[in-house]
Subunit: 340 residues, 6 copies
């Protein structure tokens, strides 16, 4: 069994209920989540031993986040207590032609204000096989970016596989650095990258190309542009998402490996309950299937897409779909029939 | 005015709210329902005098069920108090490609542990015209199956019309008997059966055929296979249901009577609010229309389909659509316009 | 900046929650709204100074309505306290093929029982440019109709632009007068009318014609029938609404001005969260765009349709969409993507 | 078994939740109740056959009220459909030194606008033993007062016992008559009156006396002043209530019969959950005990006080305490221990 | 650090909200708890390594219970999956003179139907110091009683300290055995017993004595009657509870050890939020303090009483008070001031 | 009519519901408040023109705060938009012997990071009579303290009365300065101070004295120690609060003016609904009464105490009690009777 470490931020998510707008909210639903934690939850749900590394403030809100991590059966023995506050994000869930809106309130969070040498990465990675991070952590602060780079390098030295979800967020990256100044030196150690081609190009400093995801030859060319800059890269995957409206998405996927393209067909996802975390669900499904069915990349991309599509029906940041539910969809049953 | 008796189990239904999964539920919505009770509610709503016969434990949860029966204007004078517990089922309502999930907790319920001679069926059926039961009751326990058979035979002797909704539930039938060992001797007294052909065949011990519901000649052949084994049978009806996903169903119906096929066209049902009880709504609509408009079987099947389709928009086990609302849909208005 | 006055009733709206029917409701959501107030809120949201004139009872429920008006930044300095009760309407929000249902309980409200000379219209209209009313107020009572006519005449004398949303409600008009006995003398002062052709004809006493909204020449003819009877009329607009079901609407618009037809294309609106007030959102968008972009009538009708379509995703009577959100849709982005 | 008829109004009660003030309420809890209906519910709960007579509008809100009456097992066969609206009252439940506040919105309700000859009282009272009314009905409107008097006279002629809860409400009596102009001719037929001495004097036109409820001789004198004006009166009872604050009440009772005084000791009631309907709970307990234990008036007053005190712990208008719970308190056990 | 094992049942608790009665409940709050689990949670909260042993059905409701155990940081590695159902109990929380009411629906639960040899107790007790059980488990079924005895004997052989909370529940013990037929052979191995003298006498087959808890000499005599029958017994503790009403309790404690009596003074507990689990909170506090401060039995009993009193303010079955909060109360600060 | 300006922070308050602890919260109630805003709301409710000056971030959460200010009829024309975030505080409302707990998350809020010259105080104070601030603002950050001092000096120069609520919060003052280094130079301009003697001494750098509030001579001495350091000081008031437990407070007040002591008697406040903001309610009541009834200081202190006591029954940060409700209590009626 593979042992995976993910590193990043867990936040308190405060979302409006019953389709309310921010200004109407008299209550907020409280969830806890964050891209890299969400991936760890997916893996733990699928039976992969997963651990989440972060820094959490030693107050009651931080303790509630810790309880959430424990509840989801994610390893937590290397989490550090410290810092002033848990990051928060406010979410107004969209519907129809009104999109979801996120207001970040995560500046000066425990992880963004992390001090050097908080984590002993060599010790953390002992007996571990895989390290997962995302483009959100380097977007938080200079300190977080440094720590992330340190983790990546240590993981690489110790021979772990490294994966990254590019996760570009335009409302972050506020500390004075552009992604292309920070990301390339991190991505070059990665074995697996999740992200669309233009985001990868943007982070690697290549000009925008607006790719045609139905043109395999073009895809191979663009993907090879990425692998040129990321010498350790084996697998690149992209979620194909067509947003009809906030309640109706079309989701598919493309995976590039060893100069071959694998595609999962586009499926309708309607009605969307919660759009947030669906990329993390894709990432979690991808990691699981790469680890478990690495000899069947076609099934890997289909599993990732199915995990992603199911997450749209689930409230909260992380995916609560079971292996059996995802596999039913991979096997072609999208009917949503009652089980009784 | 016809007087109908239905016999079966009423349960406490505990359903998760706001699209939550079971593991997320901090509250459960409480409803009371059960296939045969739901049919009685439909009939009472349409102005048919209906009575529900069951056994309910003499505790506060049982009393709450009794209050629900009274509230819905269903006759309750022959309900017996006794037994240890009210059956429960947990419901996680699906959405999109995640189907609803039912966890039964109905073993050892008051009705499943019923003792012989609890009910005086001859007295119950005095001045009654119709007896309705379903395939759920014989699936609960040997004792429930016996009592159900006794009721059916008494009803037959006293000249009541008898109807059955086959209602196969794979999570029931746990007491050591297969449906085909129990159902045929019950179905042979029935005048009206609701169920698809393969379920009927399965329960009557005939091999699966996977019928084509657009092929009238084939349908007639299959239906005559059923009537061969059920000499009292006059009318067979089937809900045609195509599950696009949990939020989007397509519903139609077929009715077979006197070697003629009547069909109600398939209509889209979206967005689905509550899938559970829609078959009971069909059954309730069918009984109502057979009783009230027995000379217009085309309208009967259309009424049943319209009742069923409206139930998908209503929370809870039973159908709260009014006669006027159903008839508006039978008359072709599915527009869902505001009335003001 | 233009200054707009609207006149009408604000009600307490009590709506069932979570798709419940009236008979299931153990709680009602409380909102405050009314056609003319809703228009004022839209304008205030878009930065137009707007004032609402009405009469409100001097009790705690009336005070709550006043607080709502203040909260929405709508002028309230001419509101009169008095009367016995705030009008109420009960709303059961529909879904799928079950339409929303409104039960009015607004008889004898403060505004319906208004006494003569309650308002000093000449003073109210000082330094104002626009007066908006709707066909609901004359439908409430003889007294309300009289006061409305008085306001219209005063506004006309003082040179304000006058707009009307015809807003026919079959459950109102119970005081003994038919619309065509009351409305023509009011409409003849109007510069802008919102309403479909048949409603306008009905209120003006012209026979029903069932117009084809894709036939521009026919439209011009019918619209000129209206302008013949309304000599001040410059602009007529109509919401084109095709109700697939209560959860799925198709919305477009037509605007007639100076013998030209401007059309906004039909767009899908799904999933509908709250159908009520979408006409007022159209009206608010229309007024805003007529005031702000009067030289671009094509954009005006598109803005009105976009405002209307967004309102379908927002709970409550009035539109909380922002200028930026509406303009994004006018500019063609209906994708409902997450902003983060 | 005695058969009791009560006559009056049932209203929709809209109460704020979680200690909110009216201006904070985004939801209202919906209950249905009214003094005379509440008494009928108490009796039905204790096993006395009780029927409620009223007029209810034929709309969805009225239908919900009808369902509530049926649910509580109260007879409803003489209820008339008609009128425009169901009366409403808004309730802000107090706590500590902030008292509960009621805003009535019951003018022009179905019962207040009742037409003559709506009810055939002679037929209603067939095979009935007891008629209960309260001072609220004559306070609603001239029409309601007339109908009430007619009912009382008919009941008297047919030999029913008649009881009245004086129930003075300062926010009613708005139609131009004072209580002393209306009530004496009604009270003179009563066999049982519930109310404090000063209220009785006020309604009978006697000057205020501010009685000392610990002075039996004075009480006898004052009560005889009442019986002088009410020749049919056998029993007068008074709730003794000392309001420490909205969360803490002290409740006792006095009963006068055949020139004897019976007293139930004052007990602490804390914490108060719902103060409304506690007088009706007293009345319901008093009627039950007068009917069932008429030979033990000491127990009667104690039963009424115990029923009243328990109602303070129950949400809603009517008393859901069981006979067993009340008797436990009559027998001295106020400990509120867990039953398990 | 001591390692404690507790054994028993964890149930789904369904409680009515906002002071509702069972018949009013449209939703139930879902919690998970049970006497022995609650004790384990207390210990885990105080930093003692605690493990809970039970049997849980392998369905979604069982999985939710497992997640709750994990969330609370209680060891779960020896929990067995199996059986048909998770036990349920319904709770109506009392207030004032209306006591809380529990309806058990725990027959045939996974633990009650446990098969022999489900648990390998010798392995479970490896490296453990303490075993805690309660009188509830032997009350569930013959099978549960047998397994409990087997666990006790094994723990005794392996040298663990054994504690028991007598926990008599009159609504259990339905399988044909009386407590005194079952409990003595279990209690004789116990080192610590929690329970009042009359309950202990009842379970040991001694006649009721109604002890005076302020008479130390009498207490010593009665406690020595118990130790005579329980030769391993070192410590007996009793919660002193005086129930003023359901909202107001008075709580103290007595501890007997080595022929000495230690008393914690009676303190007022008001307002009670949740009475259930307060005995388990006492037990958890007692075990913690016996383990941690075994040389200060006066502080032990005070800590147990403080833990118990704080639990009354906390919703749910188990105690969420922190060590710091309990110690503040032990140190005399009951003021409930705001911390900010 | 006096015109009052208050300056400080408005925060989003996120409080747990239904007595839950932080770790149990799945939803948070959202309110907006802060000491100085709360005082402005009180004044506006009593008819005094009040304006609130602060800095609020230009995002959706900030806009919601602005809407709240407008809703409460508090002037907002000098509020500046800017900064990164709105301060937040989490509140766990206590009950019984468990106190409320506040977790501040207000670092780096818009007001704490305020830049110099954000406000033009001379313009803000035009035509104003009174400036109110509190000890919270200088506790937030060096920048906030500077701005506060600037406002105070300007107000003093322009001849406004100045009042301060000392409001010591041990969880603030984290930026490196102690209160006594900052507060004296601010307090010396104040005309009115609210705070207990030890807090005043602490902030002014005088040693703790633990005063006896029943010893008038001692009080005069201590108060004169304060006035010695605050030459502009006319009135000092102190809330006397004895916390029996979180649900039961005893509240009185002392006012010192012109060497005279005025006392409001201690009254019981039970049950406490919301303890937070009760000091601000006292302050609001005090300012109102000083402004309106400055010739009756006995009534002033009684009004402040009554306002404070009523606030304990009201959810949220600010006081929604009306003038009439407060005056009823000042006049001696604490009975909490129903008004109907």
């Amino acid at each position: 069994m593979s042992k995976v470490v993910t590193f990043g931020e867990i936040m308190l998510r405060l979302s409006t209920e019953s389709n309310q707008r921010f200004s109407q909210a008299k209550t907020f639903s409280a969830n806890y989540g964050g891209g890299e934690f969400n991936v760890a939850v997916s893996l733990a749900n699928y039976g992969i031993e997963a651990e989440f590394v972060t820094r959490i403030p030693d107050n009651e809100i931080g303790h509630a986040a810790l309880q959430e991590i424990r509840k989801m059966n994610v390893g937590m023995s290397n989490i550090q207590l410290g810092g002033d506050r848990l990051g928060i994000y406010f979410l107004e869930t969209g519907v129809g032609n009104r999109g979801s809106n996120v207001v970040y309130d995560r500046s000066n969070s425990a992880i963004a204000t992390i001090e050097e040498n908080t984590f002993d990465w060599a010790k953390i990675f002992e007996k571990k096989d895989w390290f997962h991070w995302s483009g959100i952590t380097p977007a938080l602060s200079e300190k977080a970016a440094k720590e992330c780079l340190k983790a990546i390098k240590t993981a690489h030295q110790l021979g772990l596989k490294i994966s990254c979800d590019l996760n570009y967020r335009s409302k972050l990256w506020k500390y004075g650095k552009e992604p292309f100044e920070v990301m390339p030196q991190m991505l070059k150690y990665c074995n697996v990258i999740l992200g669309d081609i233009d985001t990868a190009f943007f982070m690697l400093g290549i000009d925008k190309v607006n790719p045609d995801y139905e043109n395999d030859e073009q895809l191979k060319k663009y993907y090879s542009n990425i692998t040129d800059l990321c010498p350790n890269l084996e697998t690149i995957a992209t979620t194909l998402r067509y947003s009809i409206n906030a309640s109706h998405q079309k989701i598919g996927g493309v995976l590039f490996n060893n100069n071959k393209i694998y595609e999962a067909p586009i499926t309708d996802v309607t009605n969307v309950v919660d759009r947030v975390g669906t990329g993390d669900a894709f990432m979690g499904g991808l990691l699981y299937s790469l680890i478990k069915t690495s000899d069947n990349l076609q099934r890997s991309i289909e599993f990732a897409v199915a995990a992603c599509s199911l997450k749209h029906t689930i409230v909260g940041d992380y995916n609560l779909a079971t292996l059996a539910e995802i596999e039913k969809i991979v096997n072609g049953d999208n009917s949503g029939k009652v089980s009784r």
